[in-house]
Symmetry: C2
Amino acid sequence: MFAHQDSETRFDHPNYIILKQQKPTESELEILGILWERGASTVREVHEKLAETKEAGYTTTLKLMQIMYEKGLLTRDASSKTHIYAAAVSQQETQQQLLNKMIDTVFGGSATQLVMQALGHHKSSGEELDQIRKYLSEIEKQQR
Amino acid sequence: MFAHQDSETRFDHPNYIILKQQKPTESELEILGILWERGASTVREVHEKLAETKEAGYTTTLKLMQIMYEKGLLTRDASSKTHIYAAAVSQQETQQQLLNKMIDTVFGGSATQLVMQALGHHKSSGEELDQIRKYLSEIEKQQR
DNA sequence: ATTTGTTTACGAAGATATTCGTAGATGTTC
DNA sequence: GAACATCTACGAATATCTTCGTAAACAAAT
């Protein structure tokens, strides 16, 4: 029911031909977030981090990560007994994908609306605001 | 499994005591988006709009909206045969809720990151950029 | 080598979301 | 009022997501 997805060839994966980045679910995003931050990690490590915020059994985390691997969201190194997983999709790409969807359905298509809403309710330091100003100028420069 | 929700009293609803804004699902968000844009509408109208992007039967849309009504996401006027639905949750509040979650899990907690990512990949007119600059100044003023 | 602990694999139950067929109510047209 | 169209209500099938128990593999400790 969600948007159609282009197929593409990939290696380093049992299926060989898999769908391009499937939309991660809620739980999957949490795990991706941890892997982006920590870099390659074991299930145990991810689970530990996860348990700080959320109640869940170890095998639940394991199963999730196995599924994510099958989907192509994670890669893994199974050379030692304790497998090591890493995110297979980039943080940037995923962010963009989710942002686009969100802008479209919830912000009536206006990225500006989203930006202002995000700025309004998050205390940003003066430094951060300056950083954004700088960024704005760059964009304007590029567009010319 | 998701964050706990405070209970609160409400009227204009069969249950009387319902949970505070449940997290809308993907499909529900699409419908909310349409209602925010169009204002109060019939199922038929929402369905028509929905069908522009998405494949779905009429009764599917109907059922969804009925469920959303039961959840308290929509209100409805059933005085005439053809019921008229409206969003019961504000666009702003919902936007903020989703943004917060997203900043937290996908942007490592940094609203600034989100803003820059959003600005980077959406062509914004010079006008819009100015609007954002103005907004930045206001925020700075308020914080002092 | 037996116990103990940690790991993966697997299957299946439970929870939630999505889809749609069918029936009955209501309204409209001829 | 009979035929037709449109609407709601309801139930159930399907699909997807989440959770976890159990077993087998493996390693380390006694």
